[in-house]
């Protein structure tokens, strides 16, 4: 097991390094430079001064080595566009807000998704099932940039229960969390329903029923336990993407999260921001997938992490 962990962790770093290298190469392959702007009258001399300041006048391999060196010290460099904070600060400040929202959204998604999925499965082809499935179809079909303004319109304007936007109190987090959770609720409901239906047809469930165990206990103890694996699989990438923020929902609700940096960084050709956000997201994704893999073995003892142990 420990052998496996060491190998796995080493592989995580190799994966990250490959991502850094690829991103670095791709990002410099895009035409355009970070200093161009609408009234782009800057004389060549000023562009040269700017390039020199951010080491962009060095050959690419030198820039690459410099970047890796700083990265080893966990320094993601300065932002070219925003002078007031380095990329480390931008990410740590923004991640606090994004992760908070993401965690709430995941909580909501799991709670409602799993419940709705079970209800639908147990009432297969009855009206409860149809309602749950209709909700799920809506959730998948309605994008968050529609959902968010709708929520604002109903729960902040028509019924002024929540603030329209901005950040500050817990009340500010509710509408964006709901907007974020809506899609995942739908997906989880569908996964949960499908696998629950399969599980409930298994012989051991029938055995349990035959033994006269109450339905509630069967569902909780034997049903959910076995049906939840597909949801857990889906949870890895979901956690990674939700806690690292989303561009659209954060923009609409004016959340000071990191979602916008993923997009703005590229539009601005803000090289350190592009690399920083990519590395950060990749690291979180790789790490959550790792945790989920470990979680499998806890949920289902039949799953082993290594071949040897079989």
């Amino acid at each position: 097991m420990s052998n496996y962990l060491v190998k796995r962790i080493l592989m995580m770093f190799v994966t990250l390094w490959i991502i850094v290298t690829l991103t670095f190469a791709l990002m410099h392959a895009i035409p355009g430079n970070p200093f161009a702007s609408e009234s782009d009258q800057l004389p060549e001399q000023i562009l040269n001064n700017l390039r020199a300041k951010y080491n962009l006048d060095e050959p690419l391999p030198v820039q690459y080595i410099l970047y890796l060196k700083n990265l080893l010290m966990l320094d993601l460099g300065p932002s070219i566009k925003s002078d007031s904070r380095g990329v480390n600060d931008m990410i740590s400040d923004g991640f606090a807000a994004s992760a908070w929202l993401g965690a709430q959204a995941i909580g909501i998604a799991l709670l409602f998704g799993i419940t709705l999925g079970i209800i639908a499965a147990l009432n297969r082809n009855k009206w409860l099932d149809y309602i749950a499935m209709a909700l799920a179809v809506l959730g998948v079909a309605i994008p968050s940039f529609i959902m968010a303004p709708l929520l604002i319109n109903f729960f902040a304007i028509k019924l002024p229960l929540f603030p329209v936007a901005t950040w500050g109190t817990w009340m500010h987090t509710i509408l964006p969390s709901l907007a974020l959770a809506f899609g995942p609720v739908a997906v989880i409901t569908r996964y949960m329903r499908a696998s629950m239906i399969e599980v409930m047809n298994q012989n051991y469930i029938r055995t349990a029923e035959a033994k006269g165990i109450p339905m509630f206990i069967i569902v909780v103890r034997h049903g959910i336990r076995n049906a939840i694996l597909p949801v857990v699989t889906f949870l890895g990438p979901l956690i990674a993407s939700l806690i690292t923020g989303t561009f659209v929902v954060e923009k609409i609700f004016a959340i000071p999260g990191i979602g916008k940096y993923f997009v703005d960084g590229i539009f601005n050709r803000d090289y350190p921001v592009i690399l920083g956000t990519t590395i950060f997201y990749s690291a979180i994704l790789i790490f959550t997938i790792f945790l989920i893999d470990i979680a499998y073995t806890l949920i289902d003892p039949r799953i082993k992490l290594t071949n040897k142990e079989r």
Binding site: I30, P31, G32, N33, F35, A36, S37, E38, S39, D40, Q41, L42, P43, Q45, I46, N49, A52, K53, K81, S82, D83, S84, R85, D93, G94, F95, A96, A99, W100, A103, G107, P149, N153, A156, I157, V164, A165, T166, W167, G168, T169, T173, R221, R225, L235, I239, I243, K251, I252, F253, A254, P256, K260, F267, R269, T288, L291, A295, L298, I299
Partner: protein
């Protein structure tokens, strides 16, 4: 046994939850109370119109990129800088430079030496603003190690360009603190609009001691030191900026309210909703699909802005090598229809190059005086010019034309209408092409685009700002336009001290340019904004930023 497995399941769930939550244990977890609404309650009614305890609630849209004056060369930073700092002169309500940090000044006979006498005014840390601060700040603008993007604005100062290019040094920059209160600037050439240039945030002073001791001074509310009408109380990055009245400011009696609270909401519809629910006092843009309706109903107001939207024709790429064909393209479009139905911001059809918003010495507007150079939607003339141009070149079919714009719904809509107009009015099939913004800029600057759009706002308040862009090989040119006569005239304008004469020369230069017609001018820009009825006195300069100094917040 089952129970134990159940616990395992639970602990897995807990692990996942902990992972999700540990990330949020930091400070930005929502803890601070919403402070926005307190202003109204705290207000003490003075019985008059204005509420001196009120705060102005505004939207910055995004984080200001930098509040170090020469570094923040963008409208967001400038909006905050103009409220928190002040240069030697400040634009007044009629957009003219007036005494500010400088109480008065004298200009030498040859128009090249300016001697400013400073007022008694204090930095937000209580220290007096001195001529030494100005000398330090001005040299700092052009220090190549700082790589400030707006450094070129200071090239008018003798020795500044050389220092910035690395061929000179700081001592060669001809700015001098004669004593605590006297500041002298020597220019390369008499520059009639130099005072206007000085109103730019680039030229705001910086506190020498503070900047020298802390290179990161402009990065947060705790360390930033300013000298303007307001000082910074709080700056939460990506979230809000709070300003309060600066009692050390020389003109503190003109400030009729307590401060400004900026939020950063970058979504057009959210911003509009916040305005409608009274959470914002003024918004500087309105949702595009509601623009016409809001203007027509009088809810949104429109003011002129010195900017122009045009398409550039590359003069070394056929068919735009021919002046008559270029003219045909400029004449063949119906700007009025385009503005009324597509752009919808009460923009002004542009039949010239220099926008509205540049006053002449006698007070008249440069554009009004210069008039239009052709008629809008002059289809007959356009057809004739196209025919003539093709004959001159010996073409029986027109070489293919591709219009390029940067990816955006607004630019796309305009391009499609123009395409339709060229088809209908000239019988020319124009291809459309869109490119991502920075790719577009890189190609335009490399002069590889044949027919491409631009919006050019003014950098400073003088028409030469526009004229100089099309001097041979200027970085703003981008279409290989070159006319020796024009170049010489612009050079002469730069060296003319007599203002009426200089303006006459600028009209001549514009005429030469419009005879060559390397642009299809489309419209002169406007600002479409909304402000609550109890807000008065926000000044929008056609050139330069928005000024909140003279605002009065009435009781609702």
């Amino acid at each position: 046994m089952n129970m134990r497995k159940g616990w395992k399941l639970l602990s897995t769930a807990a692990l996942v939850t902990v992972l999700a939550i540990t990330g949020c244990s930091q400070s930005a977890a929502p803890t601070q109370p919403a402070g926005g609404g307190t202003a109204g309650q705290a207000s003490t009614d003075t019985g008059g119109q204005a509420n001196v305890a009120a705060k102005l609630k505004l939207n910055l849209k995004t984080e200001p990129p930098s509040l170090d004056p020469p570094k923040g060369f963008d409208s967001t930073s400038n909006e905050v800088l103009n409220a928190t700092m002040e240069g030697l002169v400040r634009l007044d309500k009629d957009h003219k430079p007036q005494a500010a940090m400088a109480e008065k000044w004298a200009v030498s006979e040859d128009g090249k030496t300016y001697t400013f006498t400073l007022r008694d005014s204090k930095w937000s840390n209580g220290e007096p603003v001195t001529a030494q601060d100005f000398e330090f700040a001005f040299k700092r603008i052009v220090d190549p190690n700082n790589a400030f993007p707006s450094a070129f604005l200071a090239y008018y100062i003798d020795g500044a360009e050389a220092f910035n290019k690395g061929t000179g040094n700081a001592d060669g920059v001809k700015v001098k603190a004669v004593d605590e209160k006297t500041f002298e600037v020597k220019l390369k050439a008499p520059t009639g609009y130099f005072l206007h240039i000085l109103t730019q945030p680039t030229f705001f002073p910086v506190n020498k001691k503070v900047v020298e001791s802390n290179p990161k001074w402009a990065e947060g509310a705790a360390s930033i030191v300013t000298n303007g009408p307001f000082k910074m109380e709080e700056w939460v990055h990506d979230q809000s900026v709070k300003l309060v009245k600066n009692d050390g400011y020389w003109d503190r009696d003109s400030i009729k309210y307590a401060g400004i609270e900026f939020v950063m909401v970058n979504d057009e519809n959210t911003q509009f909703q916040m305005y409608k629910t009274g959470q914002l006092d003024m918004i500087q843009t309105v949702p595009n699909d509601m623009k016409k309706q809001l203007i027509d109903s009088g809810e949104a107001k429109v003011e002129t802005e010195a900017s122009i939207y045009y398409y550039r024709m590359n003069t070394t790429m056929p068919p735009f090598t021919n002046a008559n064909i270029r003219k045909a393209f400029a004449l063949a479009i119906d700007r009025k229809t385009l503005i009324d139905n597509v752009v919808q911001g009460k923009q002004i059809p542009a039949m010239a190059h220099v926008p509205l918003g540049f006053p002449e010495p006698d007070g008249a507007d440069f554009r009004t005086k210069g008039g239009d150079f052709f008629k809008d939607n002059d289809v007959e003339q356009a057809k004739a010019l196209l025919k003539k141009g093709m004959e001159e070149e010996g073409w029986t079919t027109l070489p293919p034309v591709t219009m390029t714009y940067n990816t955006s719904d607004a630019h796309k809509a305009i391009a499609q209408v123009l395409q339709e107009m060229y088809k209908k009015n000239l019988g020319v099939d124009v291809k459309l092409e869109n490119k991502e913004w920075k790719v577009f800029l890189a190609e335009q600057r490399a002069r590889t685009l044949q027919f491409s759009r631009s919006t050019i706002p003014a950098d400073y308040g003088d028409p030469v700002n526009y004229l100089e862009l099309f001097v041979t090989d200027h970085p703003g040119n981008r279409i290989n336009y070159s006319n020796k006569e024009y170049d010489a005239l612009v050079e002469k304008i730069r060296n003319t001290a007599d203002e009426p004469e200089r303006f006459k020369l600028m009209h001549d230069a514009e005429k030469i340019f419009m005879d060559d017609m390397p642009l299809v001018p489309i419209y002169f820009g406007t600002k479409v904004f909304m402000e609550q009825p109890n807000i008065k006195g926000i000044v929008r300069h056609p050139v330069g930023t928005i000024d909140y100094k003279w605002v009065e917040v009435g009781n609702k």
